[in-house]
Symmetry: C2
Subunit: 430 residues, 2 copies
Amino acid sequence: MNKIAPTILQGTRDFLPIDMAKRNLVMNKIKKVFEKFGYDPIETPVICPAETILGKYGDEGERLTYNFETSGGRKIALPFDLTVPFARYVAANYRDLPIPFKRYQIQRVWRAERPQKGRLREFYQCDIDIIGTKNLVSESEIARIIVKVFKELGFKDFVIKFNSRRLINEILRSLGIAEEKFIDVIRVVDKLDKIDKENVIEEIKKLGFDNAEDIFDAVLPAESIEKTLEKFSKYDLKEIKEFIKNCEDLGVPKKYLEFDTSLARGLDYYTGLIFEVIGKGTSLGTLCAGGRYDNLCSLFCNEDFSGVGVSFGFERIMLVLEQMGSFENVKLNSKVLITIFDENSVASSLKTYSELIDAGINCEIYFQPDKLKKQFQFADKKRIPFVIIRGPDEMKDETVTIKLMESGKQKTIPSKQLTSYLTEYYETEK
Amino acid sequence: MNKIAPTILQGTRDFLPIDMAKRNLVMNKIKKVFEKFGYDPIETPVICPAETILGKYGDEGERLTYNFETSGGRKIALPFDLTVPFARYVAANYRDLPIPFKRYQIQRVWRAERPQKGRLREFYQCDIDIIGTKNLVSESEIARIIVKVFKELGFKDFVIKFNSRRLINEILRSLGIAEEKFIDVIRVVDKLDKIDKENVIEEIKKLGFDNAEDIFDAVLPAESIEKTLEKFSKYDLKEIKEFIKNCEDLGVPKKYLEFDTSLARGLDYYTGLIFEVIGKGTSLGTLCAGGRYDNLCSLFCNEDFSGVGVSFGFERIMLVLEQMGSFENVKLNSKVLITIFDENSVASSLKTYSELIDAGINCEIYFQPDKLKKQFQFADKKRIPFVIIRGPDEMKDETVTIKLMESGKQKTIPSKQLTSYLTEYYETEK
């Protein structure tokens, strides 16, 4: 029979147990922080009516999104982010939701891009949002959560850049730039973390501004929050100042905050404060980003929900943590392998297995009698620290031999003591 | 502007926070049991090359599966179960896997059916499999896991029906039924839990057998495992007996096992022992099913992987647990709401929030000053047990008022004692 190649699409991934162990470690830490701040998870469908996903994105959206027609003629699309499904979700369910509503959502999204190096077509996004309040308490909570997440994940050096969309607009207006040009200028200024000063100025010139250097200088921050506040004191800094004050009251250490007046976040979507988290010393740049938006659900209903939210770049965070060596000690679930010496010891090994399970120890049995060497190799491959041997001698003496895989040492103890030996070990380990 | 209806496809679902709380409760209990037995999770892609999903299913598969062509001409399909993706995964990755390999997998799958009442087009499946060993230790482990899962979930009355495909075939052969008719007869016999004896016999007759009653009597079990073993003693019962012995050694209580010689599991896929878990006293029948198969990966490679696995009917289990009232006390994440009395108390409330977060208490702040009544209603809607009030009096006296939402009682304590008050409460609760 001809075989089908067991391939997957480029930009999608099979996750091996060790990959999952790493991913779940990180995901659980992130979830735990969200839950600490009272966020609850939600989930939205994967297969969606195409119009609810493509809504405002037109042709380009259609090209970049997985979408198709069913045999029944229904056009379906897969989400390309979690914001659009969340907007639809709120419009459909707001009557049943506590408002202000905050949720976290960790799900896959899909992009029908031609996958370049490292570009994924299927990946996880990890979003938090607070909707239904314009109060800047929300923004400071987001900052506090960001700090806690990255600290829990073991990041030492990171910074939350923040700015206000309103402030940028005010600055550009004061420079005499026409409103309809704002977004173009913002897009160029936003490149400052990727290209250098000269090139940014060059690109501003290309937009038709002779005073490109003035524009550039006018948006650049000073070297500290205080000095930047001073430099821009002729503008309305009320929301910036309130945000900083809230952060202080909520215990966000100042060292993590950077008031970057050149920060713009490309999309025209944001209307208030914007955020970008940079992992210093990593090559991967932005690890989390977001901001305040108005009218989340305007595509779907007339209710006016202002909100603020950020998206954690889960896949990127995984790459950085891998580079940082954070996963070196990651283990799989099983802590003990019970070997089966020969046909005559199956019953005895099964009984040992049952005892350890009852004692609450994560363990497993090698499913068939085999050479011990092969069973040890299996334990090695699964990174299992303890291997239990119950051969004819042990059965006769009512003992059990424990092999510590790391050191290769073996010790034989009375069978009765096995459970407490292992339980103690795990209590010590914690 | 015209609004887009915020609808979802029939047979898909939005999960509200309370739905998620219930689902995660159940999912986490199930995962924990799997992990106890040394199972590790894996994940496979959602968008797949169509041929890897549709492989052997031909036109019917194509009709019942979500599949489509990209603009680049690649045919893509979404998984309709987790077995086919797992087979593909093993064929692609077996060199990197510890063999015998066991994994659990909990992911969404899709069925392009016309959704009837309660039929879902998008739902979670929850599978465990052990591959790479033919030893019946595996089957007994599956039985032990099933018992532990259902006990952990609070099921009191359930039974694991088991049988052997080999035994059924032997019985049918001994009745003079032609091999090519086996699957038809098995399909009819399998209906015994849905239609009554007379109708089953009638249907067997329709297949062209005059001795329908004999066939029926010949496959029916006796009233206990021992008596059934006796009734079928002329057949080869070696694997059944070994399975029962292993279950005994592994601590599977006998009361959960039922040797049902009429159990067939419709598909021709299984080759050895088969299982079906019935929740007694529920109207929903089979809650988990599976069995031994050969050549898992035959579609994809020449390696011969025998395996055994079961699929837990997650969505069905959720329905039964809901009927059983298991979710009455399910709470959301947040345990404490910190109110904001007025503009002047924002800073004070933020500081309290920060303290509680640092103390590790799941809590949240109401994002803006508002009428206390409205803030209480919010707490009610989120099922938050404690509400903290810090108004002008409390701020002056350095106290804090705690409202216990369930009883409606309020008490005022010194601010300093708040953290330990709440911490103690949660320690008592555990």
